[in-house]
Symmetry: C2
Subunit: 87 residues, 2 copies
């Protein structure tokens, strides 16, 4: 544990973060740029938000999307399991 961890420095919404991850640098960079984009998008429609609230609402947004994708995945996996049973 920790031996093949990757340290990646990214810039999100004007601040530097050092992310310690199991994933590749390219994955971490993609993730950081999605968070940065999302924060700017939410700020554009709610200009009065401070950065802390903005970041929390960004997390809320992403969890909401995550749950929907997870649900789609669950349905598809159940469908495949049923099809396997029918063979």
């Amino acid at each position: 544990l920790g031996q093949d961890k990757n340290r990646v420095t990214v810039n999100i919404y004007g601040e530097q973060y050092t992310i310690v991850a199991d994933e590749r640098t390219s994955h971490v960079n993609t993730v950081a740029s999605i968070v940065d984009d999302k924060m700017r998008e939410i700020k554009a429609s709610n200009p009065s938000l401070d950065t802390k609230k903005l970041a929390v609402l960004t997390a809320v947004n992403i969890v909401s999307d995550y749950l929907k994708v997870q649900e789609q995945l669950d349905h598809l996996q159940q469908k495949q399991a049923r099809e396997e049973d029918e063979k």
Copy 2:
């Protein structure tokens, strides 16, 4: 647009947020409690983080998970499309 929007007040990491969403109240409450849990989990392993950085890192964490689930879903959808073709 906006007519069937739902206003839900949630508490995340000690602060109140009013979320305007198309989704049901139960979905918004689940999302808020996932964000709250994740923030507390990340704070526990990084006690020196201020709330803004904590929220940004929480978003980073969730996007990372999101991309993985999205990838699984893509693979499964491709697999199903191939199986349909073989029929």
